[in-house]
Symmetry: C2
Subunit: 675 residues, 2 copies
């Protein structure tokens, strides 16, 4: 049809077959939906047409090379005209998808002919019209000789006047005919939706186990006689890597390793009167020794860093660097580019403030004064670390820098290094947290540390695993070097076990901050963070004391964390987010959920987690499983293998559960079919 018969702007023309409400769609299509390789997700749409003829729909997935994959959709709610197709992408890169609505002449004929031939209305006409539709299907759609033969036989059967009408009709509506036209349909009036971008990233963007260390603490020693610390180095921290790898972690995350400023340096427990020998906060970045592109001389040099990265790699781990874009007053940028900071009315450079509080050891960068200069410099700095093998950056407080800066930086790095992963540490309001995911961050710290009740966790996971899963990937940390909640301060061993297991199973990426094994639960008075925090001082945890034969043997959760990570590795269902299902437990102190994933061999991996969230009381209750969510019938029973304790029971829909500090706080159950 000529353009004169198309509706013009300001209205976009609707298609011949309307396709509405395609999902996922991020920011009305302005930004991509995201997935990792082989991550299954549903594409849904509302597709309908005028009149009574049959309508149908396909998802068209376009791969990074432009290859189009046409996938049939299924109508899940005829009254609401909703269609769905579960899709996945088999490699990284920029894919796209659209939904095509189309008129289905075979479907129309099959519906009408089945009714009319049965009622003997227009019988001969309907059978001939079926033959004509199938002849079109033969002429207009490419098929192998074998595939053609199915339709050719149907055409002959429809026209075989020696047979009764019911037999002839059957020839045209046979399952083989339906299957052939289901796979290679005759599609009329094909009407595409808008094309939506899909960014497919690597597995670690969605799923991984992280472990955080302050490198200077690992190998730091205190000389009791001299009252002096000797700093740990990249070389001594490297010696800790085998233990971290042995616990089963995938990523080792280093707090900043850059030179630290002396100006307004912080002392132990965030005090303002640091002594010269105090190491200062690694977040007060920059000194005459260099800035974000340099390594603190106490930690070593780039050779040491390369060795550290290589050792991590040898052990099967990646190194995540901290990117804290702020400066000590001693940072080289301050002297070279005072215009990159805010100058106050009195000519001084503005330090960080939260009025009336002042943080005089930190100058925030002012991106608006010279955005091109700052963008270029930060991009250069990133390349330094990428060239030294870093593929993951944990970004400190991204929500205090312009969102458009991160969008540009992440996209610009991805041009040459699409494997790079960025984790946003944006403990801030939901709009900012979600938007950072939308504009490019592969992962986001979350509110997990403050979601401690079953109702809160269910609500939060429902949000995270729903539409948000198309653009924001949660990372769950029970503690960090900034966060020690009352639940962890006062919950005892049950709390430390629970929160690690929940973090590791509710979502695919979780993180542990060094010292978690030792349940370091004492907070600095008035703060919800650790006392004697290693942000401000050296910390020698004497790991050797907890090893076999050591004075504190058995007083570490290292073995427990190891078991959690083994379970995660063995169960691919735990590497996915979107398919979480909650189950009913009578006692509201309990949380029960499951994950299920189809494996390449066609079987399902199914894991059920049941937790008593009250760390102080052992409780008994009844769990009612949603058996369909586990791929079972309501009357089935199955072998429930507790992967934490290695116990096994026969479970069915309703099960007696007893969990708590007297026993174990949580079951992690593999669902095994005993038959």
């Amino acid at each position: 049809m000529s353009d004169a018969f198309r509706t013009a702007l300001p209205q976009a023309p609707i298609g011949r077959i309307p396709v509405q409400d395609v999902r996922p769609v991020v920011d009305h299509g302005a930004r991509p939906a995201k997935a990792v390789v082989d991550e299954r997700f549903d594409v849904t749409a509302t597709v309908f047409r005028e009149g009574h003829d049959a309508v149908n729909a396909s998802v068209v997935l376009t791969d990074p090379d432009g290859g189009e994959h046409v996938l049939p959709m299924t109508c899940t709610n005829p009254g609401l005209d909703t269609w769905v197709r579960t899709v996945s992408a088999d490699r990284t890169g920029w894919w796209s998808y659209r939904v095509e609505g189309w008129s289905d002449p075979y479907g129309t004929w099959e519906h009408d002919a089945t009714i009319k031939v049965r009622a003997d209305v227009d019988t001969e006409l309907m059978l001939e019209e079926g033959a004509l539709v199938l002849e079109r299907a033969l002429a207009e759609v490419e098929r192998t000789a074998e595939q053609k033969a199915v339709l050719q036989a149907a055409v002959r059967g429809l026209r075989d006047t020696s047979k009764p009408p019911a037999v002839r009709l059957k020839a045209g509506t046979d399952a083989a005919v339906e299957d052939e036209l289901g796979e290679r349909p005759l599609r009329d009036m094909v009407s595409p939706s808008a094309e939506h971008a899909l960014l497919v990233e690597r597995e670690l963007a969605l799923s991984g186990a992280w472990y955080e260390i302050f490198p200077r603490s690992e190998g730091a020693t205190y000389d009791e006689k001299e009252h002096r610390w000797t700093t740990g180095t990249l070389r001594t921290a490297m010696k800790r890597l085998p233990a971290i790898a042995a616990m089963g972690f995938d990523v080792v995350y280093l707090t900043p390793i850059h030179p630290i400023g002396q100006a307004a340096k912080k002392g132990p427990n965030n005090t303002l009167d640091a002594r010269p020998e105090d190491p200062g906060s690694p977040y007060a970045i920059g000194s005459p020794d260099g800035g974000h592109d340099a390594i603190h001389p106490d930690l070593g040099d780039f050779d040491d860093f390369d060795a550290f990265v290589a050792e991590a790699e040898r052990l099967g781990m990646e190194v995540a660097m901290d990117l804290a874009l702020q400066c000590s007053p001693d940072h080289p940028w301050v002297a070279e580019h005072p215009e990159w900071f805010t100058t106050r009315a009195d000519g001084s450079i503005a330090y960080a403030e939260n009025p009336p509080k002042k943080y005089q050891d930190i100058y925030p960068v002012n991106f608006d004064n010279d955005p091109e200069g700052i963008y270029t410099e930060v991009r250069r700095v990133m390349q330094v670390w990428i060239d030294h093998g870093v593929k993951i950056f944990r970004v400190d407080n991204p929500h205090t820098k312009p969102v458009e800066f991160w969008q540009w930086l992440i996209a610009d790095v991805a041009k040459d290094h699409p494997e790079v992963i960025w984790l946003a540490e944006a403990f801030t309001k939901p709009a900012m947290m979600h938007t950072l995911g939308k504009i490019g961050f592969q992962q986001s710290y979350t509110y997990y540390a403050w979601r401690n009740t079953a109702a809160d966790l269910r609500e939060y996971l429902t949000e995270l695993s729903g539409e948000a899963a198309a653009y924001m990937r949660p990372s769950f940390w029970p503690t960090t070097h900034d966060i020690l909640t009352p639940y962890m301060q006062f919950g005892g061993t049950a709390a430390w076990k629970l929160r690690a297991v929940l973090a590791a199973t509710l979502v695919p990426t979780y993180g542990i901050y060094a010292g978690y094994e030792l349940m370091e639960h004492v907070a600095r008075p008035g703060a919800e963070e650790q006392i004697d925090n290693e942000k401000y001082e050296f910390k020698n945890r004497r790991w050797e004391d907890y090893e076999e034969g050591g004075p504190k043997e058995g007083r570490s959760l290292a073995g427990y964390l190891t078991r959690i990570n083994e379970i995660r590795r063995a169960h691919p269902a735990l590497h996915r987010l979107r398919d979480i299902r909650f189950h009913h437990v009578d006692d509201e102190n309990f949380l029960a959920f499951s994950k299920r994933r189809r494996l390449p061999d066609g079987t399902d991996d199914v894991v059920v987690v049941v937790a008593n969230l009250d760390p102080h009381s052992t409780r008994a209750t009844t769990l009612r499983l949603d058996m369909a969510a586990l791929g079972l019938e309501s009357g089935d029973s199955f072998l429930a293998h507790d992967l934490v304790t290695d116990e096994q029971w026969t479970w069915q829909r309703d099960n007696y559960i007893r969990l708590g500090p007297e026993v174990e706080p949580v079951h992690v159950i593999a669902v095994r079919r005993p038959w």
Copy 2:
């Protein structure tokens, strides 16, 4: 910043100040939001920024001449960063709107200075920075001398070292200064959302009272001796117009007036054996006398039609034509353009079917065979009627024709005739019904006839008055010539009163089908439509019998409908949809809602409707009013003036209510302040 520092496709760049989730937005911005002149609606958005500086937001409304109106928004939920501004447009045409997020240097300074000066931190510096911000506000934003004077005084006050700091600070944070900067702010980093189209239409597109007639029935007479009907005509139907106008209706809607085919003509009560003297269904359009561009010779000619339209206009009413795009086999198109229909395998033209049912009196148009030819012809036909003064079309079954056809037709007519209103009679699934609103229909018939319980009505009105109100305007009809629900068949007088009042007050447009006054409640057996339906025969309702002194005086609801329309005219609150609020009633058989509208004189028009939806029982209950929704305090009392009965009571938050067939089924209350 150069493009090298902007994110490129497939991601759209986010703004310096992110603006997310602007609403209303229809089909991701592909289609306009709609409103009528002076219809207030909320533009909302999520606007936030990095760091601690103040963020602010405006709606920019652009009028059809390109004039931009910058309107301040208010943050309604700081935690969720949601902003709102109620807007309206003062004339018809294509408007647009966008939301601009911006950095607010005055807001930042005022926040910080208030805290720091109070704590005596950087006092002199903060006061000087305030003076500098205000100097920028003076230099960069246009102001009158008087407006400038406010800020100049503030600058002097901030720098007046003879005064204590608190006094100087006050000079810069005074309400007059805040107001001036609220109206004409200093806006940094202005970041626009996408521009969204807003189509502003005339009042009747949203609000009006319709009355439906079959013109041939009005003035039809039956000769008992000869057993013969004489048809009504446009001239006799014209005589009915004063009575319709006297009842207070705004629109008189005529079922089709075109020539009727003889082929397979339907007889009384939808029988297939019509006699030659049966008039046939006016929906079987077309005969040798002409098609959709012709008038049935029995009804008159174009002079008669022009006279009818002129008389309606003289009485303050508009005429709505029926557009039923289907053909009798006798329609001229069938002979001239057989390609506009579907040809079956045997060469015959396909009639309408719902297998195995056949409707042999109707040939559906097949738009796909020659869309350009059909589009052009239908557009020509529309112009015939527009040239004869028709500005409203009621479209019969638009959901059986391609949606893209309607989109084109409505838009093409609007180019020269933006005043034309189209009502979609799409009693079909929600996706189609909503989409027809999105692509251009000004109004939609709805599921109202089947929503009879309070819970159903609340749910349905919540849907219609929410996001859907931006694109779909409901028309509520208690009955039509096709619809007579069991509620109306068996509900008695209470039901007929109730359903008219609810239709007239729940939404701004409602319609009455002739005979409603007479409560014609008998259905054809096996059907939910009237027996002896005037679709298939003449009907003389003998209106004169119900007049004063007539044999059936007092047995008509004409007076009741007249009162309803008087109430509607007197209460502008009832002309709007989006502001409906529901109130609690203890008995779930009751429905209570209110509407409130700000009038040009600054007062509020407030109407409360309370209905007992059980037409069979008089019931008493307690109504608990949401006083804030009425613009009242929770402890207030007010004069409740029942506009149906003219009674008055003093009401407060909790009120005793008794309604039902023994009294009246519904209160329509004007809220009057007695003070």
